[in-house]
């Protein structure tokens, strides 16, 4: 077919932050599907909790302190996370490097506490369905925590190499910030579900 040029694209930038970049949308897509997974797991927990009048099935109350510490750490991590996001948008390499290291530490800290959170549930996964659901919910979130911390560490290393000077990499940092928000956000309802909802009734 014959062609008739009507527009010139040569002046366009070669990368963009946030919703301008396809990667951001891809990240959003994966968040949507993982979020659905979280919601369904939580729904399954509530379904069982409502089917059984004596929910917690005479299991001991979990010790909420490790979970609470994880929650506080995760919420605290949002501050450096968003500072990091601003620097990434300005493509400032040194603050971004520092921010990434900080975020690695903020990612590892809750993981360490998480190690103690599993025994603090005071029940095993094969004791009864309540224990199973607790371990499933906690395990599901821990998987996300581990993968995102791994991702952050790799990206941190990458930012210290010559590849870090690319606009694309700053975009990746922005997406990493975005995903960490998601990991923090999904934890809050799970935290409430595991430690506080059974105490209501």
């Amino acid at each position: 077919m014959n062609q008739r040029p009507v527009a010139d694209l040569s002046g366009l930038p070669t990368f963009g932050h946030g919703p301008r970049s396809p990667t951001w949308w891809g990240t959003l897509g994966f968040m949507a599907l993982e979020g659905t997974g979280f919601a369904l797991a939580a729904g399954a927990y509530l379904y069982l909790a409502m089917s059984w009048p004596n929910w917690r099935l005479s299991a001991p109350e979990p010790n909420h302190w490790p979970g609470t510490i994880v929650t506080l750490l995760l919420i605290a991590s949002l501050v450096p996370n968003h500072i990091l996001k601003r620097y990434a948008e300005h493509c400032a390499i040194s603050p971004v490097r520092i921010g990434m290291v900080v975020m690695c530490l903020f990612g590892l800290a809750p993981l360490v506490v998480r190690w103690f959170e599993f025994p603090a549930l005071n029940i095993y996964w094969d004791t009864n369905a309540y224990g199973s659901m607790l371990w499933v919910l906690l395990g599901l979130h821990t998987t996300h925590l581990i993968t995102d911390v791994g991702d952050t560490i790799v990206l941190t290393v990458l930012m210290f190499t010559r590849h870090g000077y690319s606009g694309r990499r700053f975009g990746d940092v922005g997406d990493n910030v975005f995903y960490w928000d998601f990991v923090v956000l999904t934890w809050i309802p799970i935290y409430l579900l595991i430690y506080w909802v059974p105490r209501l009734g």
Partner: protein, 658 residues
């Protein structure tokens, strides 16, 4: 219509065009397509976008057309295997008390038939049609996340191979494609058969999800300039809605199968009523996926119908907006009616009535679609070619399937026909009539674009006739035999119930239907080797995929087209308006804004890479091993991490460096 006012510098928001300052390596520049003549433009682009030669090159390909072609062929192979399962079952059922196949094998056969058709044929093939056509229809050079796309294929093909190898090893799941607990649970399914089901479902759905995300982002961010939301072709809309349904539905089946395997392998009690679990929870979770699944298969087929009808009715679709809104409505409503699969479980009456209403409600948007297509055809006698014949077959059968669907939505009526051959007839009318017939029409319709050659029209008509008669002969009597009391999933039945003759008739029809696919296969091969050359646009259709050569070059379009109408090729008969200014020495493509499709970014698309294959092997090995020990997740994490880092680590290509 003029194109000048659609896309120009004026439409670029000024703040978006500025480059952020910062610690960036200086931007390199290279040759652009602006003033280049066609021949050298082709040379540049062909070199930049080619799939590398050799076996490793082929395995590294990230070209959406190459991947999609592999998907289509693989899915077709699985269709044939699933069809052979069906023929074997029909031979066993052709008479009462036949001893050809025992219950153990029969139960594996029908499970494999369901699993293969749903997870390895229907969903992958519609998604594959999507990843082939969507980038062409929206006028871009490659799909978004091309490596993810390649990864998806490797996951899919290995997942399918695992299930089929386990079938050959007498290890195939034998608990039905929906594997209800407790039958599939730890106590009543010894061995690894149900584990194979659970893990392979989770695993192959990863591929489906990857494709869905890639499709959504391609449609949102890579549309050609000017293709605002109202100018997106209906096929692309259908794939977009489907992908959203996949994103929200597939996690449900992954959760279900994961819960099942946890119950089976590490002793959790999620579905164990004695320890606080519940068997019906499985059904709720499964059908929360299972019903949308039907629409995942059906919606892309409506997109195909919406592409074929205008080409042969010689006019744009009637009620474009109505069709788009119906698609979206169907997508939403499909999540609200899963319970109609569970009416016989004894749910509270009021809740069940609510789901009757919601299940019936979905008939309305589907009705709107049917009426709009019919109205499109009312302008005069359409050009009758094979693709349109299959669309006529679609109307004939899908309307039957849809109406019996309305019958199933009624709680009391469902209690008589649920889990009988009536239901088998219903969903085959919906899935084959509503999806496979449009797919066959689409195969005839787009075959010239994919191969550059036409399929035989004569054979095509014979194929249609045979398929139409065979299908109806096989499935229409099933309505009756279901009402006469024949349940599903029986490997035999007593002679005194009088179902023998009708089952023999059904089996004959099934064999005819199978033969029609033999004819189709012959027509495909014959067409690919000896078919008449097709030219760019053999049907004089109006969407963008017909603007490029057949088969399309690796880079899809010499220059990015600018869209002025929902049928751009009909609106621009003389010359296609295009945008220039992309680099030709690197894989640059245009990223545009979500709603209005204003040009926004010149982004680099990923280069070929072997890492997606390696990552798929690592993930596949982990899943397979996890059937035997949960520690596989821990050990498997290492190779998965290594391959993923290899995948995303920049290799020093100019694409990655900028």
């Amino acid at each position: 219509m003029s194109s000048a006012d659609v896309t120009s510098e004026r439409d670029l928001p000024p703040e978006r065009a500025t480059v952020t300052k910062g610690d960036l390596a200086p931007e390199q520049d290279g040759p652009r397509d602006s003033g280049m003549d066609d021949a050298s433009l082709h040379r540049w682009l062909a070199r930049t976008w080619r799939t590398p030669p050799g076996i490793v090159g082929a395995l590294s390909s990230v070209d959406h057309k190459v991947i999609a072609r592999r998907y289509l062929i693989t899915a077709f192979v699985f269709l044939c295997l699933g069809g052979l399962n069906a023929v074997a079952m029909r031979i066993q059922l052709s008479g009462p008390q036949r001893g050809l196949i025992g219950p153990d094998l029969y139960n594996q056969l029908f499970t494999m038939h369901g699993v293969t058709m749903m997870f390895l044929f229907a969903v992958p093939i519609v998604q594959a049609a999507g990843i082939y056509l969507v980038p062409l229809m929206v006028g871009t050079r490659n799909i978004a996340f091309p490596r993810l796309n390649a990864f998806g294929y490797w996951i899919y093909v290995s997942g399918g191979a695992f299930v089929w190898i386990s079938f050959l090893l007498n290890m195939a799941p034998d608990v039905g494609w929906f594997a209800y607990v407790p039958l599939s649970g730890p106590e009543f399914s010894p061995g690894k058969r149900a584990d194979v089901w659970a893990q392979m479902i989770t695993y192959t759905e990863v591929s489906s999800l990857a494709l869905a995300v890639a499709t959504i982002v391609t449609v949102f961010k890579q549309r050609a300039p000017g293709m605002s939301l109202d100018k997106i072709p209906l096929f692309v809309w259908a794939l977009l809605v489907t992908s959203f349904v996949v994103v929200f539905a597939m996690p449900a089946v992954m959760i279900t199968s994961t819960f099942l395997i946890l119950d089976r392998l590490v002793g959790t009690h999620i579905f164990n009523p004695a320890e606080g679990g519940d068997a019906l929870l499985f059904q709720h979770l499964f059908w929360f996926f299972g019903h949308p699944e039907v629409y995942i298969i059906f919606l892309p087929a409506t997109g195909m119908v919406s592409s074929i009808i205008p080409a042969f009715a010689r006019r744009p679709t009637f009620g474009h907006l109505g069709l788009v809104l119906s698609l979206i409505a169907v997508g939403f409503l499909s999540f609200g009616l899963w319970v109609h699969h569970m009416f016989a479980t004894g749910l509270p009456k009021l809740g069940a009535s609510f789901f009757t209403a919601s299940s019936m409600l979905i008939a309305i948007p589907n009705g709107v679609q049917i009426f709009c297509w019919l109205a499109t055809l009312w302008d005069g006698r359409p050009v009758i070619r094979t693709p349109l014949l299959f669309v006529f077959g679609f109307f004939f059968m899908f309307v039957i399937g849809g109406l019996t669907g309305v019958m199933l939505a009624s709680v009391p009526l469902d209690l008589q026909v649920h889990d009988t051959y009536f239901v088998v007839a219903h969903f085959h009318y919906v899935l084959i009539g509503g999806s496979v017939f449009p797919l066959l029409g689409a195969a005839y319709f787009w075959f010239p674009k994919i191969t550059g050659r036409m399929m035989s029209e004569r054979l095509g008509r014979w194929h249609f006739g045979l398929a139409f008669i065979g299908f109806n002969a096989a499935f229409f009597p099933m309505h009756l035999v279901g009402l006469w009391g024949m349940p599903r999933r029986v490997y035999t039945y007593p002679a005194e119930l009088g179902w023998g003759n009708i089952n023999l008739f059904i089996s004959t029809g099934a064999v005819l239907f199978f033969l029609s696919f033999v004819l189709f296969t012959f027509n495909l091969i014959h067409g690919a080797l000896k078919g008449a050359p097709a030219g760019d646009n053999p049907w004089d259709a109006g969407t963008l995929e017909w603007a490029t050569s057949s088969p399309p070059p690796s880079y899809n379009f010499r220059r990015i087209p600018v869209v002025t109408n929902v049928e751009p090729l009909w609106a621009e008969r003389e010359a296609l308006p295009v945008a220039t200014g992309l680099r030709v020495d690197v894989r640059e493509l245009l990223v545009s804004t979500v709603a209005e499709a204003y040009p926004d970014i010149r982004e680099k698309s990923a280069t070929p890479s072997i890492w997606p294959l390696l990552a798929a092997i690592a993930v596949g090995g982990t899943f397979l091993y996890s059937i035997f020990t949960p520690w596989a997740i821990v050990w498997g994490a290492v190779p998965i991490a290594v391959t993923l880092v290899g995948w995303f680590w920049p290799k020093g290509d100019p694409e990655d460096e900028q």
